[in-house]
Amino acid sequence: MSEFFTLSVLVATLASGIRLATPYLIAALGETIGQRSGVLNLGVDGVMLLSAFFAYWTVLETKNLWLGVAVGIVVGFVMGIIYGIITVFFHATQGISGIGIFLFGLGFSDLMFQKQVGTPRPIKQLPDVSIPLLADIPHVGEALFQHNLLIYVAFLLVPIVTFMLKRTTFGMNISAVGENPQAADSLGVSVAQTRFTAILIGNTMAGLAGAALTLELGIFQANLTSGLGFIAVALVYFGAWRPVGVMGGALLYGLVGATVVQLKALQVIPRSVSDIASMAPALLTIAALIVLAGRVKAPSALTRPFSRH
């Protein structure tokens, strides 16, 4: 155990925890916006898989990393249009249609991968960018300020989303349609338009999260996310529908995951139980959700389709 508590191992664990947290954070922030408007999207994982595949394929073919990121974002946006039409205009039950989106993403991304790529070939990973001055701070710099650009973007999104929700008229509209859509409607705020826009933003961010994941790993395979998108949905509850809380959840999840990996590498955790140890982050999330159950209040209109009659 003592090997773990050396400075270099701790710094490396912190750095990789932040890395691991990033796709969760981006996806969960997007899901937060959607849920605040009253729309639950269980399809996040499917959207991430699709955008991850297309981002990967783009980079594989063009060797252009940022084109890959852009393609991932566009795929998320397109899936947002589809999910928005299904839930906002056809008033479909959100839980089931989200699962449909997930299954579609899971199957279609694998199909495309088998047809177009076949065997996994590695691609370039996103390069790390050291932040001038800050990166030179001993240890802290290595842990916090030597990451790829999308990681900084993810953490910058936290204050941006917070500001958007709290200080803009659009954010106020989102809260209103998520809490009391009838009230919003009676004041001339379009519930459909507000929710559709929130869904578009959320799915676009899920797209970015998928791209971040594949370009971070430099690889794609079937079911690359292995349920990451569902954890992101859980983190929204964990974070009580607040961006900062969601960030806390994503970081906790990433850090526990990174710690388990380190402990396994150092063979503190014996190989025989390593698979069980890998469950630690998920178990922690479930425990946290049980503790938090009933203490935080979801948006009142969450999962409830709106119509005037």
């Binding site: 200080r167 803009t168 008229t169 659009f170 954010g171 106020m172 509209n173 809260s175 209103a176 809490e179 009391n180 009838q182 009230a183 919003a184 409607d185 009676s186 004041l187 001339g188 705020v189 009142s300 005037r308």
Partner: protein, 506 residues
């Protein structure tokens, strides 16, 4: 009244929904500076007419003229732009947002995409000063009392400078004092030349506030009058279409022994706070004990804990005919003679998808009367339910009709039929006539009086003061979880009970 064009004219409005005509050839007009009341039962077409005015529905026939000019309103934002405001029966507020945010919602911000809450708050303060509407713009709405929320709804309309304001049952949740305050505010608004459409079925309020009254029944206008030329009884007759007895005759009944005895009862509400705080109550056989109070002062929890749907806290006494009910399950309580007509009739009282007969036997379906070795005896059920439908005057196509397709009044009769068949010793009736048409309410009142004559102890929980005063022998007033006073109904006045309800004399 001026000779210029009225503020609003609705001419020949007809609106059909599949299977129903909600409005048929309705004429309605409103002048600036007057209160024009729209009176009618649930389903008479008041809400439909107002939803047409507010752009939520489109009329099939007829036209709307605003300030003399035809106007076609297709959405709430167009209505707001035309200076039409609406205070909805169910408050249209977002509890998690502040007062200022609620008021600003839907209004273009002066700062573009950013909210502009400082200048909004300032206008709110101006409006509240000039109209006597005390509100604090920076508080989240969920912290506010019902009366305060009502004021915000009015501020919202004034903020948008509504010249025509529709108030849909604005007094439903207010104490009598809050109603008086509201009427002062409304009068100030008509003095400024605004026109108000007041929707209510509380006849004494209609009589005291209105300049003119239009009565709707089954989608049609059945009369127009002014308060000085009519009476509550006449208005009720126009609403129902026949003479109605607003308060039932109560025969003299000698009160019996204590049937329900409650001592030291404390109950936690859904939010964990004390909803009922150390209450003592006695209800005698042959007595109706009314429980008055503004919604949310512990009445619901009191009913639920006696009915066995909620656990009391700590040690307490709940006795029915001398036997303790504490810890007993609902089945045991029923076997000992408790019947319960719940407040949320579609949630706790009946199963909407079940037929009338299924709901009527819901409690006894496992007993020997309706089943043998686990199999239902359909013959016995049919006979029993057919008789009940007749005896309780339930208007239904048949006993196999899904209960949810009946009107509120008839669903309540189905529940009453089931609960009273049990020949209760103790009857808890929560809001028995809320949302029920006047005819059914009259009928339900008669049944309650009949139970009183047979010696049943009745706990009547109601927010309708006329009902409580008219039916009860004694009235217990609840405020903040406590019984703040018990008055003999012979000495009770609306004002006195209103002060108790507001906690003023507590």
């Amino acid at each position: 009244m001026t000779t210029e064009a009225p503020l609003l004219q609705m001419r020949g409005i007809t609106k059909r929904f599949p299977g129903v005509i909600a409005n048929e050839d309705v004429d309605f007009d409103l002048h600036g500076g007057e209160v024009h009341t729209l009176l009618g039962e649930n389903g008479a077409g008041k809400s439909t007419l107002m939803k047409i005015l507010f752009g939520l529905y489109q009329p099939d026939e007829g036209e709307v003229l605003l300030r003399g000019k035809p106007i076609d309103i297709t959405s709430p934002s167009e209505a707001i732009a035309a200076r039409i405001g609406m205070v909805h029966q169910h408050f249209m507020l977002v509890p998690t947002l502040t007062v200022a945010e609620n008021v600003a919602l839907g209004i273009k911000s002066k700062r573009g995409m950013l909210t502009d809450l400082d200048s909004v708050s300032e206008r709110i303060r101006e409006i509240s000063d000039s109209h006597g509407l005390a509100v604090d713009p920076s508080v989240e709405v969920w912290r506010l009392s019902v009366g305060e929320r009502q004021r915000i709804e009015i501020v919202k309309a004034l903020f948008r400078d509504a010249e025509l304001l529709v108030l849909d049952e604005p007094t439903a949740v207010l104490t009598p004092q809050e109603v008086d305050d509201l009427f002062v505010i409304l009068r100030r608004m008509t003095d400024e030349g605004r026109g108000l459409i007041f929707i209510s079925h509380k006849l004494h309020e209609v009589m005291s506030l209105s300049d003119r009254i239009t009565v709707l029944r089954n989608g049609r206008v059945t009369g127009q009058t002014v308060p000085s030329e009519t009476s509550r009884e006449q208005l009720a007759q126009m609403m129902v279409g026949r003479a109605v007895r607003l308060t039932p005759d109560k025969p003299d009944v000698k009160a019996g022994d204590v049937r329900l005895k409650v001592r030291g009862l404390t109950v936690r509400g859904d939010r964990g706070t004390k909803a009922v705080d150390n209450i003592d109550l006695d209800v005698y056989g042959g007595e109706i004990l009314g429980v008055a109070g503004v919604s949310g002062n512990g009445q619901r929890e009191l009913a639920e804990v006696i009915a066995g749907l909620r656990e009391p806290e700590g040690t307490c006494t709940i006795e029915l005919d001398g036997t303790s009910l504490v810890g007993a399950d609902t089945r045991t309580r029923r076997d000992r003679g408790l019947s319960y007509v719940p407040e949320e009739r579609m949630r706790d009282g009946a199963i909407g998808d079940f037929t009338v007969s299924e709901n009527m036997i819901l409690v006894d379906h496992g007993g020997e009367r309706f089943s043998r070795s686990g199999l239902l005896n359909f013959g016995a059920i049919k006979d029993h339910c057919t008789e009940l439908v007749q005896r309780y005057a339930v208007k239904t196509p048949g006993i196999d009709t899904p209960t949810s397709s009946l009107s509120g009044g008839n669903i309540q009769k189905v529940i009453m039929a089931r609960e009273l068949t049990a020949e209760p010793h103790l009857l808890i009736a929560s809001q028995p006539t809320r949302g029920v048409d006047i005819g059914s309410a009259e009928y339900i009142h008669e049944r309650l009086v009949e139970q009183r004559s047979r010696g049943t102890a009745t706990l009547l929980i109601s927010e309708d003061l006329d009902e409580v005063i008219g039916l009860s022998d004694r009235i217990a007033v609840m405020f903040d979880g406590r019984v703040v006073g018990i008055v003999d109904s012979a000495d009770a006045t609306r004002e006195g009970i209103g002060l108790l309800m507001a906690g003023v004399l507590a």
